[in-house]
Symmetry: C2
Subunit: 197 residues, 2 copies
């Protein structure tokens, strides 16, 4: 039975290798390539550890780390939905629910259930941990955009008001991080990285 | 002062983006590209969470997760040293020490110090957490090699005895994972992925 557990765990680890092929719309800072969701998840995990002192509410950092490590796994089946693509957002939930059933279902039942709950918690943004994780998930692509001269914003013609609307929930997780994001948006407009309204 | 802390933390998060450009010698399972050290670190973190029950000794899983998230950051300056390249191993320590000074030095002192100690702990393999982290760090490239028909092993003409010697310390972290690795090596030889001796 133990051996069977390990086989299921290894099968899951093999399956999630596919996240390394899921491309996002942001470029990494060297500008050499689009970022993939696996490396994105790694960076969020380190952010969670290093920036936890800026959370509005007390948080269990380990819980945030787990959450961000698995938050994008459903993209293996459902793909990455660009945060400014409101049409694709419509059936996103259904596609991602099916993906979660299949992918977390590869694991032993107890572990699959735990990760499934973590993912649902992340999506719902109703706990302090999920609000902080969501703040990191929004801040990071802004940092990447800002430090690549707004490359992805420009390619998609993003306006200041869109950036502000999409990212304003950072404030629910961290006022300090929202201040940083807000200043970045101002400066991005001044530099022509984001279109003014 | 708080604002200054956040600036240092953000500078570090920007700096470590470079890990996404550090290529390893193993291919991801789709075979589409060489793996980079950022996505590798992500996968190890999830392995730490999911496989902790197979550790020989009781471990603080959160500590292992932190360790594997930062274990390769020194490669930003020192590059990835191929585990079968014994010549490059010689000055590896000195190159990596200098890298650690610079990279962890970007953070606020307390956090830089904590991550530096974590990295040294990983390298020394003297704690249960470091032994388990090292086991994961060895098992994962074997899984990638095995599931890409030994692609990287073949490209570098790796022999069974080399694979066994380089990876045998997995047993110090986890006998169960070493059993898996050992069976994989046997099978890899049978399939022609690894050269027999």
């Amino acid at each position: 039975v133990d051996n069977d557990r390990l086989s299921q765990q290894v099968a899951f680890i093999i399956e999630i290798d596919k996240l390394k092929d899921i491309l996002r719309r942001t470029y990494i800072m060297s500008g050499e390539k689009l970022e993939n969701s696996a490396e994105h998840s790694w960076q969020l995990a380190l952010m969670a550890i290093l920036l936890s002192e800026h959370s509005n509410e007390p948080i269990d950092v380990g819980h945030v780390v787990k959450m961000v490590l698995i938050h994008d796994l459903v993209e293996i089946d459902a793909g990455d939905t660009y945060c400014y693509d409101t049409a694709a957002e419509q059936d996103k939930i259904e596609r991602e629910m099916r993906a979660a059933d299949r992918i977390f279902g590869i694991l032993p039942k107890d572990q699959g259930h735990e990760l499934r709950l973590l993912w649902e918690e992340f999506e719902a943004r109703e706990t302090p941990e999920a609000r902080f994780a969501a703040a990191l998930d929004r801040l990071m692509p802004m940092l990447l955009n800002y430090h690549t001269a707004g490359r992805s914003w420009k390619e998609h013609g993003i306006r200041q008001s869109q950036a502000r609307a999409r990212n304003s929930h950072i404030v629910e997780g961290s006022r300090a991080l929202w201040d940083t994001a807000d200043r970045m948006i101002e400066e991005a407009v001044a530099r022509g990285y984001l279109k003014p309204d």
